[in-house]
Symmetry: none
Subunit: 223 residues, 4 copies
């Protein structure tokens, strides 16, 4: 539950993933320092450094040094520095979409489902503040093609969330005073903002912040 956590899926652009999942020994043997395989180590190092210093301020050299490998190794696993950033995004997007789907699809009244989703995105954002910082500050560093791709996924997420609000508005439990689109942006603004002000050693736990922000959203939506 540290600042940044690299998921357990190995991005291997040059290989298919399916066959490495099953046999543990298939993961590249090169695990030098600790037991973590090289690509994960690179991704973790890149995530931390990108969050700390920004994408442009982080050199490939720094990343490979932090990961304890050589440049050749990085370019063996990732096509470019850009690729590395894209992988970070991919991981976060996948995670958030999964969690939203889970909460949105629950068998509960709309109010509960929205509150659950709204609070959960806050908690997971705080638990991965590094990823969040990168996400909201470095998106424009992606090349146009990958940028498009990320934006598309982002939009799917936004629409899924908006659908929840519209559902509540149709049922009359949420006010229609404000367009659902705007409400989504209102809430996600505060989520983005978390990486600016939230400190793990502050007075509020992630869950408390999440409850407060979800509360504000639902209070604003009261008819």
């Amino acid at each position: 539950m540290g600042r940044s956590s690299v998921g357990n899926r190995v991005p291997r652009p040059t290989r298919t993933e399916s066959d490495t999942e099953r046999r543990v020994a298939a993961v590249p043997r090169t695990t030098d320092g600790d037991g973590t395989p090289v690509p994960q180590r690179l991704l973790a190092a890149a995530t931390r450094l990108f969050a700390e210093q920004g994408y442009d301020r982080t050199s490939v050299q720094e990343i490979v040094e932090a990961a304890g490998v050589t440049k050749g190794a990085l370019y063996h696993y990732f096509g470019s520095k850009d690729d590395l950033l894209h992988e970070v995004y991919a991981r976060v997007l996948r995670l958030q979409q999964e969690r939203l789907d889970h909460f949105a699809g629950a068998d509960e009244p709309i109010e509960k489902r929205l509150r659950g989703a709204a609070a959960d995105v806050v908690v997971t954002t705080i638990e991965n503040l590094d990823d969040a910082s990168i996400f909201f500050r470095s998106m424009h560093h992606l090349g146009p093609e990958k940028n498009k791709q990320v934006r598309a996924e982002r939009r799917r997420y936004h629409e899924r969330f908006r659908a929840l609000i519209e559902e509540g508005q149709r049922e009359g439990v949420f006010s229609t005073a404000t367009p659902a689109d705007l409400v989504v942006d209102y809430h996600f603004g505060s989520v983005h903002h978390l990486s600016t002000w939230y400190r793990p050693d502050g007075p509020l736990s992630p869950q408390e912040v999440a409850d407060h922000l979800a509360d504000l959203l639902l209070r604003a939506l009261r008819p």
Copy 2:
């Protein structure tokens, strides 16, 4: 309502400002192409480019070319690229603080004053979207000293705004369910976020967006 607007104060890093304030004609007459003096031209070009491409992705070369001057001229007026960024910040901070003071000090009930301030910051942010983008994406590019300075001014602004909410809470017109601090961050999250999604050619005018967002804030604060 342009994207970016450069103020009318000439930055003169090597001198105190006081003596140039008196004589209006002291502003360098060197205005080459158009009638705008060089420092303003540089500031305007930098603002636009920083917003479009980010601070790190914008080279000094690009800035001086856009401003139609030479690199030497830039370094004659500004100590560094960093300085240029700082000037953008200083201008925005000054403007926002002034406007907040105006609304907060008005002779009106607290609800009206908060709504006025909350809506106004949205309108002026939209009217200076470039400045806003820079503000919320590039602050960490400032050197540590200037960073401190900007953060301090930022904090003053935050506290002024928080005081409004607390005033309403004390009077009983705003709910105390959420700490005022968190409410401020909630609102400013959505303000920061504007530069991500707001498009001038979209369906909503700046004022409409402002009214909606201020409305959401006040609805969330209803007891």
Copy 3:
């Protein structure tokens, strides 16, 4: 007896030297034009140019052009232009200390040992006039840390030499009229000065100059 001679040690700033000592073949085989490896070529070019034009007047561009490599290559081997200068110093200091130790530790009367050391430093200085010019004109260009390091080694050399004189003074074969410290500076003043006036095509061979200067020193020390 060339103007400058670059040693056979490869500077590898990013690694400890110990592991490259073992395997002779570890010296990079990349020797483009002639057979000399890149770092040596750079060091030789830098030495010549620093001596001819001074440190500040020599651009990194000139060095890499003279060495027939690119700037990137230089910065691959040396951390900075400063580093390059430091390597020149390190080589000279090592050489001089070795030779002094050799003469000072010989099994001979003190007069012969001092004369031998005093003459030898003249010969080797003349044989490496470039290094000497750099040494005595560019030391102050080193950053403070490296400056300290060089000064410390320099002092060790000075003290070793002074010890010889003091030994002779204690034995009564050298006059005690002048403090040994001052005598050392007197002699080394003339050694430094060599790079100002000595010309290889002049009437005196290095050995002749050395004999004369050592003679002056010993005559001045006669009781």
Copy 4:
């Protein structure tokens, strides 16, 4: 008797000197801070800065700031940065030549005259250590023409000094074991070297150092 002292002759390349000597009021009225006229202030500032940082490391901007004038003023009095350096040299050379002439032409035995000259150059060098540092470290920074000029004056000085030694050798009071030329360089080597090791707060006064060094010279010349 501070580190560096600028003589009382105003270098005015663009004007004749003769008419400003007589009438005090003819000295340019621009004496801003203290009462010293601008050119002297510039020369003094340049001398100090050149000695401290070297010629190349000292910018024209630093000089004018230290002197409390503007760049325009500097270029009004001196044709270039190079000119400034040349003026420093000219002053030192003039002074040393005068003093040597004085001692060499005295009505005394050759031994006394040589000792006097040898000691005096040490004292005046120590009293103007800044000038000396500049002299021995920055001569090669002069353009070829001025370089030639300085070298010529330097040679005159050297020859004057050598003549003293040869006179003694002819009279049989100095040994002829070493060529007079070499003896001169031996002594001046130690004079140059002074700026490397002499510290005003050290144990020896300038006169003591001078006596010791002159003593060493004369002892070395004993037949």
